[in-house]
């Protein structure tokens, strides 16, 4: 479904992605992990061309979207994106946030867009917030609305860029639950996250990135239990021990 070949990206001579090759199949949940600065988010943002790439190719359903002739606005409709800091539109109600793109971009009727929005709000459990403004929502609620907003365009892939990193710990669960449901329904998902529990439970494939490369990729069981590369081992032991420590502190 998505095929990436030799993707390179640099910011002002600072090379962030040094040649990424990746195939993602339909209905697969791929989780990108790795230390900050590894290029995970940049990679995700390259997929829907929020960042222009320096070289390489990205094929979506066989179409090379790095071709300048491709209408990127059409491609982006198929790639839903969820951001770390939500980026809800603060001047619109929750309903308007969800309905604006289907109506203005896909020219759906108000009725159709409304029905979809209500259905999605139900799905993320926030029907009662339909007329609220983003400022009146908690972080977890904002992110669930942001997911609903992206789903309203009926994308074939969902990209999650650290969707729980800006949340208070007690709100992480509600967002992950929505994502888990989405995965169960067969949505193709690419998720950048530090939530190793989610990666292990929901991911079909884990990709460990470091310093602009894919270091190692494997099924969650294999990658977490039997990491092959030294850098993967070092990263996992560091992050897992810190997450366990948090857990222990909580249990005390």
């Amino acid at each position: 479904m998505i095929k990436v070949t030799d993707l390179k990206k640099a910011f002002d001579g600072n090379v962030i992605l040094k040649g990424i090759n990746l195939d993602i199949n339909a209905q697969e949940v791929v989780v990108l992990i790795g230390p900050s600065g590894a290029g995970k988010s940049t990679f995700l943002r390259c997929l829907n061309q929020l960042e222009t790439i320096n070289s390489g190719h990205i094929f979506i359903n066989g179409e090379d979207i790095t071709n300048p002739k491709v209408d990127i606005n059409k491609i982006r409709q198929k790639l839903g994106m969820v951001f770390q800091d939500f980026n809800l539109f603060p001047h619109m109600t929750v309903l308007e946030n969800i309905m604006i793109s289907p109506m203005k971009v896909k020219h759906e009727s108000h009725k159709t867009a409304y029905e979809t929005a209500i259905q999605l709000l139900n799905k993320v459990g926030l029907l009662n917030k339909a007329t609220a403004y983003p400022d009146d929502l908690s972080g977890g609620q904002k992110q669930r609305i942001a997911i609903a907003r992206a789903l309203a365009m009926k994308p074939s892939v969902m990209l999650f860029d650290e969707p729980t990193s800006a949340l208070d710990p007690e709100m992480v669960g509600e967002v992950l639950a929505v994502m888990q449901n989405l995965a169960r329904e067969g949505m193709t998902m690419i998720v950048v996250t530090h939530e190793m529990g989610f990666a292990r439970e929901v991911g079909n494939r884990i990709i460990f990135m470091d310093r602009g490369y894919i270091v190692e990729e494997n099924s969650p069981q294999n990658l977490f239990s039997h990491p092959q590369k030294e850098r993967t081992k070092a990263f996992l032991s560091k992050i897992l021990s810190s997450q366990n420590n948090t857990l222990n502190t909580l249990q005390l």
């Binding site: 929020l50 606005n73 603060p90 793109s101 203005k104 971009v105």
Partner: protein, 219 residues
Amino acid sequence: MIDFRFDIITEYSHFFLMGTLLTIGLSLASVFLGSLLGLFIAIGELLENKVLAFIFKAYVGFFRGTPLFVQILIIYFGVIPALFGEANGIVSAITALSLNAGAYIAETIRAGIQSISRGQAEASRSLGMNKFQSMRYIILPQAIRRILPALGNEFISLIKDSSLASTIATPELMYWAQSMNAQYYRVWESYISVALIYLILTLTANFILKHFEKKVPVK
């Protein structure tokens, strides 16, 4: 000062009233046209094409970097006669004030647009909106709320700046003060009167704008 002649003020009250109405008209027309122009220029300044963007920046640079008085004279004696074959005070005044206000308003709007976080544009683009849709539905509605107070200040400036139009045979408020002074050689009566009228105009405008700002939610 002892023989302050209220009688000539009374005599001129009709002219002052007409002048005040024209001053308000000039300011309203110029802030309206200047806002449209300013929006156009602001978006031009933000174009990715550096050459095109430079043209808009040069416009702003010229109109902010030269005296309004000089601009008014160039337009009254040069531009308008060249375009229409004859001089016209009111048209020249509105043209000059709008072009000048457009430059200042463009900077305000540009700053307003740039103050909206990048994430808003990214989120809208990621949903498939094109640049125009993103600007129209997401960025501008938020930016306008931040621009509005500055636009009000621009309007108040225009009320005062329009007094320069008196030099190009435009019978606005200041024009009548100078007429009165020319007729009676009375400095205080003429200039104090219009100073007070200008003050009333700007204070009223300020009051209305403040009231209006409170009504517009910051969301």
